[in-house]
Amino acid sequence: GTETGETSSETAGDEAVAEGTVAGDGSSTVAPIMEGIVEEYAGAQPDVKVTVGTSGTGGGFEKFIQGETDFSNASRPIKEEEIASLQEAGIDYTEFQLAFDGLSVVVSQENDWVEDLTVEDLKKLWVEDGTTKKWSDINPEWPEEEVVFYAPGTDSGTYDYFNEVILEDEDLVSSATLSEDDNTLVQGIQADPNAIGFFGYAYYVANQDTLKVVSIDGVEPTNETIESGDYAPLSRPLFTYANNAALADSDAAYDFMKYTLENAGAMAEAVGYVALPQEAYDKGLADLEALK
């Protein structure tokens, strides 16, 4: 956590508009941004009660489709099936981008051999192929020790994304410790020189003292490389999907979303993600305006 996250509350907050409740759920990757925004927003609009669950991208959409939530955070774009279900349920929605996330591959600081991995190396390491993975399989100079894997829960957006770009829909190595609990991953990797894991960039930033990040094809994840797209293919945008009807009908929901878009960039930076270019937020605000 850095201190720079105190965002201003000039815009939406001053009018002391609304009261009411706003409910969101979804990606735990997006959660740190949302948590910050909710915290600041509560200072600006104490009468609006915002709850944000962290059921993961898929779980969030599930509730969104059921009409239980007003917005749903996602660390990947909405899927075809989810769009279909929403249509079936008669729910119109709007997609807003909030920030960039670099998916960071990390090892323990006690690991003194890995500095860089290629996308192929990653795939070789992480795909389940029935063998026991040893570091020496990737590079014969590396120790002949079994690799210990840590990954976010397989149903999270983070996993989906890794799955898509690295595993290409093959199975993740079955010996991996999967956890929705990010601390589980951080602690597990920290403690074991043979461990490797991946998770959202923000979590690496929060723990850069104790973890070592691996560069991918020679590019290390930084704000610059992520925003510029140089850190490929492991950077991705983060979204929130809002229920149009809720935005139109509820002042509170509209106001909160407006506040979110106005502050997402700063908050993203503050919690370790990368802000989008300002134009992207402006476009979001315009889309929002149109829904009022």
Binding site: G1, A31, T51, T184, A206
Partner: protein, 292 residues
């Protein structure tokens, strides 16, 4: 002819006494070991968390900044939870106990109910969470409300209250019952005016201990899906909320090391609440012990 040589007995005596002494030490050591575990646990948590404990910690909402993170929402949420759990579980528990002790005939149904209660006491709390999720959250559409969580917790501690109340009612001397019936009192008058007042200390003690179990339970809340990103206090039992153990769990699973301290401080608050409740139970027990 003698089989037992007295000299022999005396000679062996020292060995037997030594064995006795050794085992006494072993048994004492085991007892102390268990107590030591408690001491270490408390010491460890206090040393970890004391630094973070302050008035602000009690009056702040949760925050993404560890130094600002407070426990207000969780503390008040837990109290709200008790607002539902205490009356529900005590009415159900004491009512069942009265039925079983005073009204039930010795038949199959009664012994089935008894068996049922003792078995319920052994059902893992996480399974109660599944029950709450299916019945209260989904089927009765209560969502992650205080009511849904409260009902779940009430059922979880119901067997404890029933058993404690049964014991308390059973320990009311039969002579008091006879005296009341002998005056021409009806059964219900006898129960309300004689038996319950006499049993109330035992019932209260058992209920408070059961409630403190409900305050500390985490697993059912997780299964129900109680959120943690929450910046407001509930205004009624239909509102969503968060609770102490949930908040502690969230903090302890955060990646930043500082949040471990916050979690420890949260645990101190939780333990203080429990200690407070337990001391009330002890006071009640001592105050009303053996009046007849």
């Amino acid at each position: 002819m003698r089989y037992i040589e007295h000299q022999q007995v005396i000679k062996r005596m020292n060995g037997r006494l030594l064995v006795n002494r050794i085992f006494k030490v072993i048994f004492l050591a085991a007892t102390l070991l268990a107590l030591l575990a408690l001491v270490i646990l408390l010491y460890r948590i206090v040393t970890q968390g004391a630094g973070h404990l302050s008035i602000e910690f009690l009056t702040n909402f949760a925050s993404r900044f560890p130094e600002k993170a407070g426990i207000k929402a969780a503390l008040i949420g837990s109290l709200w939870l008790m607002v539902v759990v205490a009356p529900t579980s005590i009415i159900l528990g004491v009512g069942s106990a009265i039925y079983l002790e005073e009204y039930a005939k010795q038949n199959r149904i009664t012994s089935f109910i008894r068996m049922n209660i003792s078995n319920l006491a052994g059902v893992p709390s996480v399974v109660f969470g599944l029950l709450g999720l299916t019945i209260f959250v989904r089927a009765m559409a209560l969502g992650n409300s205080i009511l849904a969580a409260g009902f779940t917790m009430s059922l979880l501690i119901l067997p404890v209250i029933v058993v404690a109340s049964q014991e308390a009612i059973r320990s009311v001397p039969g002579e008091l019952r006879d005296a009341s019936y002998g005056m021409g009192a009806t059964k219900w008058q006898t129960i309300v005016k004689i038996i319950l007042p006499a049993a109330i200390p035992g019932i209260l003690t058992g209920s408070i201990l059961a409630l403190s179990r409900a305050i500390g339970e985490t697993a059912p809340l997780i299964v129900i899906g109680v959120p943690v990103i929450i910046q407001f206090l509930p205004a009624g039992v239909m509102d969503t909320f968060t609770a102490l153990p949930m908040q502690i769990y969230d903090w302890s699973s955060r990646p930043q090391q500082e949040f471990q301290t916050v979690a420890a401080a949260g645990i101190m608050v939780l333990m203080a609440v429990l200690l407070f409740m337990n001391s009330i139970a002890v006071i009640i027990r001592n105050k009303f012990d053996k009046r007849y």
